[in-house]
Symmetry: C2
Subunit: 466 residues, 2 copies
């Protein structure tokens, strides 16, 4: 399906091109290998060359040229996505956004930026400008781009206050280029944002982003120790409901995850100790201390403003969200993970049931977040992997227990999401990518509208291993 | 009980004193007249003279001198309290804080200020300094002091996001002077704040305040029109649960309140139209517009950034909280009001039951706020007043329907609150005001520990009408 790649390569020769085999291989991969299932299926994938446009005009030129020659375009931010999101299933051009990093405007409550900006660098600029930062960010903020977050992410550090990226108000405006003979430039706000956000770049390329900002504080980082995981989970749940205590992150992690996988915590955390990571605004410290007093004063294992660690553990945010999994995989490559949503009025009851059912096979790691005004827990448990069949069984049991699963062992939008067509995204793809050249193979409803979701989808045009 | 007032007057002569009868009378009153019950009982009350200390040292001097001569001290901010909070029941000195208005420090997320600072002026300084403002404020922000808010208020504009003043984190630190032979200076944070906040100045005088700050935006003010009040209430409730849409105020007001009592709305609102007042951050406007689209696009009667009113209605915040009542009283002095808490998981069901029960006798005015992490409604309904007996009956019926009442027709802390002793406040009074000279008659548990709350408390030493 890679069309006339040679013609495209020649036509784009004056752009920033990379076809060095080593970088090409590297830029064709993301964190798909987190999943043993995807690792097996996608390890061989590689694009034909990498182009890094420096401007919207160059994006348009790439799209127009590829359209003319039927060449697929898979856009890449930093490639920290987990599900092969940025991997060229059918080969073709990898369009890397690394050169589009301009911060265009900063105002009270909002920033306008190009998509290739790394989140951490963006935060540094808005902080220096006016003490502002992103409302929420992935734990990969150190390397991930803001465009990749919007096109591939869902929420993260800050979601305990602001909910998910998809919630109204959490993205302000997106400027999008279409994949047509004459690419159009569109501006989306409000409801229309849902057409392209979290669409994996399958139906348009984001060239400019307007994001809301929150005040940036010198967040104080805590790791608290608990003898019982459910105490940690309850403490975090109650803390998230304290309207006057400003926090940015609440993460309960079950023993022995910290002891086994968090090397810098060695000597500070017991094998049977669960921990709770919290980021608190400095002016909420007194309130937080009072709250701890009301809740049996848990052990303070670490606090960033008064550390007793011989070596700094680094930012605790980088132990949360999918970084918990990363740290586990670095120590034990045989484990894997899931993405769970413990919603409803009593998320803790669901967590308790899951723990009863699986014991140490599924170790809990929760993230407090807001959903429809309520505090819920997202879960990214560490799973003791035996085989694909058991993994699917574990997923099915979660669903039976009333916990929603976003399957991270799938490379399509639908299977990683709510297992159904997103009409807004599909309709926009019909309009904006009529040849189906943008990140092909990621939207089942485009390729196979009648797919039943009984088994894992296998994109028929996926590039063969050579 | 006024002790040796002449000796005190003489000893304090070098301070800023006012004993002009007209100002003395004015400075001895607050908004007690809102209540027909209190109007009848308190109209005659007057202090002996007014002293306005310029510093903490002068506060200490006033307290020490009055202690020596057994003279009561009733502290006054701006006198906008509603329950005779700042009225000298037993005469004595009225200590007016108007000269203590210094802003001492402003930092990211917090400000240190003297108690006599008017909230609006405080906001102007923190806004000019670093784009920050108070998390919450009473609708009297234009005249009320920050010290009076802490000692007498409970929450207001901003509580939809931050909860109530009493919630951990919403006051950071209070510096307090005691009423003893040698007044002590104490600093309270965390749990200890509850000793003196909302204690009506009965157990210590606040001389310095540290408050948390939130980012200040150019809030856009909306009045939306609804044919059915419950639609307005539902819309507001759902809006408050939108985690990504930043609002500062959500106020549903039942028809015909706006038509009858909001003069500047004349010609813009129909008699049968209920309204919803909303303050939205500018960068949340697109999200808010999308939310309106999802909810039948209510009529926009007014928006501050595109007004079609011939005369500006002024700030819509000044139609909310107890300003709704004020506007009603200005048109129809025979009405009165209540303070209701529609808490629990389904506040709207409670509102509906109350409306069914009372019809037009109790017109609804709600304020969305956070309580324990959940959105609830506070109510300040406009009550068609017949007599005290019926008013008490209306209160009793509310309580039977599961709605908590904070009775605004009482002048004691307990009767206006949860009808029970606050041990922390009482114990601190025993320590800090051993002679019971601070704002006497306002704390029942001090005067009469065995009081049963069956009938309205009548302070036995209340100054007689002359
Ligand atoms: C350790 C770890 C922790 C993580 N934590 C989180 C987390 O907390 N929250 C979270 O949401 N995710 C998380 N992720 C996933 C991922 O890191 C984030 O979603 C990140 O924001 C992706 O950014 P990126 O620049 O790496 O995007 P990439 O991986 O390069 O791309 C992601 C998707 O966006 C598309 N895309 C990129 N740029 C554009 C553009 N300009 N226009 C259109 N489409 C585009 C790509 O084609 C791809 O489909 C984590 C991943 C890892 C490995
Ligand atoms: C129209 C209207 C609307 C209102 N809206 C609200 C609202 O939205 N939210 C709300 O909470 N309240 C509201 N109120 C009540 C009142 O306006 C506020 O609580 C206001 O903050 C009180 O401030 P003040 O300076 O007027 O205090 P005052 O009325 O002067 O005093 C209030 C109490 O505090 C004590 N006090 C004052 N200063 C000190 C000090 N330095 N140390 C110790 N004690 C002290 C006084 O003795 C008194 O008991 C409203 C009242 C009216 C009339």
């Amino acid at each position: 399906m890679t069309g006339n790649i040679a013609a495209v390569r020649e036509a784009l020769d004056h752009l920033d091109i990379d076809d060095n085999p080593a970088t090409l291989k590297q830029k064709s991969r993301d964190f798909f290998w987190y999943s043993p299932v995807l690792k097996e299926k996608m390890d061989h994938l590689i694009g034909d060359f990498v182009v890094s446009p420096r401007s919207e005009e160059e994006v348009i030129e790439v799209l127009k040229t590829c359209f003319a020659h039927d060449v697929p375009v898979t856009t890449r931010g930093a490639g920290t996505g987990n599900y092969g999101q940025a991997m060229p299933l059918a080969g073709g051009v990898v369009m890397h956004m690394k050169n589009m990093t301009k911060v265009k405007e900063i105002h009270p409550g909002r920033v306008i930026v190009e998509p290739g900006k790394v989140v951490k660098d963006l935060d540094a600029e808005t902080r220096a400008h006016s003490g502002q930062e992103q409302r929420m960010m992935p734990s990969t903020y150190g390397t991930a781009t803001i465009g990749g977050f919007i096109a591939g992410g869902s929420g993260g550090i800050g979601s305990v206050r602001w909910g998910a990226l998809r919630d109204l108000g959490n993205i302000l405006r997106l400027r999008v280029v279409t994949m047509e003979a004459e690419p159009r430039i569109l501006e989306f706000t409000g409801e229309d944002l849902a057409r392209v956000s979290h669409a994996y770049g399958t139906n348009g390329i984001i060239t400019e982003i307007e994001m809301p900002l929150a005040p940036a504080y010198d967040w104080v980082e805590f790791a608290l120790g608990f003898d019982d995981f459910m105490q940690a989970a309850q403490f975090g749940y109650d803390l998230a409901q304290q309207d006057g205590i400003l926090v940015k992150l609440i993460t309960p992690i079950e023993a022995p995850i910290p002891f086994k996988f968090f090397k810098r915590f060695s000597g500070h955390v017991r094998e049977d100790q669960s921990i709770l990571i919290v980021l608190v605004a400095p002016h909420s410290l007194d309130g937080f201390t009072a709250f701890m007093g009301r809740n049996n004063d848990p052990d303070v294992i670490y606090r960033s403003d008064a550390s007793t660690f011989e070596r700094t553990p680094g930012h605790l945010a980088e132990y949360t969200w999918n970084h918990t999994t990363l740290r586990a995989l670095q120590v034990d490559p045989t484990v894997t993970y899931l993405q769970v949503r413990y919603g409803g009025p009593d998320p803790l009851a669901k967590v308790a049931k899951v723990r009863e059912t699986f014991g140490a096979e599924v170790l809990q790691h929760l993230e407090a977040m807001r959903e429809g005004g309520n505090v819920i827990y997202a879960g990214l448990p560490i799973v003791d992997y035996s085989d694909e069949a058991r993994l699917n069984e574990i997923i099915a049991i979660h669903e039976e227990l009333g916990c929603m699963i976003f399957n991270p062992h799938r490379y399509t939008l639908e299977e990683g999401g709510r297992q159904k067509t997103d009409d807004r995204q599909l309709k926009f793809k019909q309009e904006a990518d009529p040849k189906g050249l943008l990140n092909p193979g990621k939207m089942i409803s485009w390729d196979d509208p009648n797919w039943s979701y009984d088994t894992m989808y296998a994109y028929p045009k996926m590039k063969q291993a050579s």
